[in-house]
Amino acid sequence: MSEVKTSEPLFSKKNMELIKNPLNQINPVTIQVLGICSALAVTVQMDNAIVMSIAVTAVLVIGNLLVSLMRNVIPGRIRIIVQLVVVAALVIIVDQILKAYVYDVSKSLSVFVGLIITNCIIMGRLEAFALGNKPWASILDGVGNGFGYGLVLMVVAFFKEILGSGTLTIPGLGKLTIIPESFFDWGYMNNGLMLLPPSSLFIVGIYIWVQKAKNPELIEA
């Protein structure tokens, strides 16, 4: 790694790309197919999705930063283990914090917090990016990928909660009723399938459909 170049502005075009691209072109979930396991199981309510996104982004950013800082001292032979330990430690801390401060959410996230450890996005970014880049770029990369992940998660949760429960639960605002009572009087009903696991897959499938239809260059051969 050459570290000669010094005077790059913090928010240069190149750096902004690091944040922007993972939202669409190289979205970790829909395009790179990483980190889906944890992404889909916690989408019945919006607040779970938001907290999960924040947790993943936090672990990703801090993990990226730490590994980037240590990139010159980590022994090559045990670098995977070192990354794993860093991630696991961060996840444990996140889990402990959730349990202490947002107990309800931590209950509904249950084991899925722990599964952040094996979220392929995180290990993938540490290995592919942080290990070879400077701290600031690594942070931005973490933010970008975290948001790219969160975006999909929240879109899925948005549809699942509105169609499945008629509400939207947003931290700080509580459960907002979206579908007005009068709809129900007219015979509208919440769609129970939206509360079941398969609906997440349908929504992601349709998300990919729309995304790739708009960006034909992403279509697989």
């Binding site: 430690a89 349990k99 107990y103 919440n190």
Partner: protein, 273 residues
């Protein structure tokens, strides 16, 4: 730097330092957050218990205020076993000690159910008499009773757990001092069908139990959830339309658990005084 990153010494040193730092950090975080986490768990349970009483002061209690109210209203915590023997008896002055597994507050009926009741039931499926016999001889299964004193009345909060259509269901019921009239209830479930069985945790369902009794002419008569739309007597509540099997689960749970409490109250009249 002239450090050889590939040498064994360096690798081992690095690993050691990392383990020490990480271990220390985690231990510190865990220790400092533990009290809050435990308080969360405790408060939630207290909240549920208080909700079940069915008196105005505790209806709609939040988790934050649960701790204080619990200490105020719950005066005694008793644990009995299947035979109706008291195995633990604490007053409000006895602090809740997480290590005291017999303290009524530490009894998790869901766990008791899956550990002791479920195996007996599934092994002897179809043979109700044998199940009854095995269960009543088991001293492993504990039942908590929380005593609430308010406005000169005594209320007994008891607990029940069983299996619904898909997974566990559980709840707390509050019995008046006559040992048979229900004053309030809370139910919860792990995975009943949304929109059907899941309605057991809705207030309208829970409130139906208020005023119902589990005895007739001095004999135990289980509470039951009926098909919706029937004429109800004093022991029956309206079921949820379309959720027949969750209803059956609730019936089984109530019948089995409340019988233990009913007999206990019956055989220990001094307790309810």
């Amino acid at each position: 730097m002239a450090l050889n990153k590939d040498s064994n010494v360096y690798t081992i040193a690095f690993a050691t330092i990392m383990v020490v730092i990480v271990g220390g950090l985690l231990a510190f975080v865990s220790m400092s957050l533990k009290p809050m986490q435990q308080a969360n768990v405790k408060n939630e349970k207290m909240q549920n218990i208080l909700q079940a009483i069915g008196i105005e002061e505790t209806n709609g209690v939040t988790r934050e205020e649960a701790g204080a109210k619990f200490n105020k209203f719950i005066t005694r915590r008793v644990t009995i076993n299947y035979k109706g023997e008291i195995v633990s008896d604490k007053t409000a002055n006895d602090k809740i000690d997480a290590q005291d597994k017999l303290d009524a507050f530490n009894i998790d009926l869901r766990k008791e159910y899956s550990r002791y009741v479920k195996p007996i039931m599934s092994r002897n499926k179809g043979d109700d008499a044998k199940i009854q016999e095995l269960l009543s001889n088991s001293t492993d299964i504990h039942f908590p009773i929380f005593v609430c004193e308010h406005g000169g009345e005594k209320y007994f909060i008891v607990s029940a757990s069983g299996k619904g259509l898909w997974d566990d269901i559980w709840g707390y019921l509050c019995v008046k001092s006559d040992g048979e009239t229900i004053n309030g209830s809370v139910f919860d479930h792990k995975g009943e069908t949304a929109g059907l069985g899941s309605k057991i945790s809705e207030t309208w369902f829970e409130d139906q139990f208020i005023g119902k009794t589990m005895a007739e002419n001095g004999a135990y008569l289980p509470l039951s959830v009926e098909k919706p739309g029937k004429d109800l007597n004093n022991h029956q509540v309206d079921g949820i339309s379309g959720a027949t099997f969750t209803g059956i689960g609730v019936n089984e749970m109530l019948e089995r658990n409340l019988a233990v409490y009913y007999n206990f109250f019956k055989n220990n009249p001094e307790f309810t005084k």
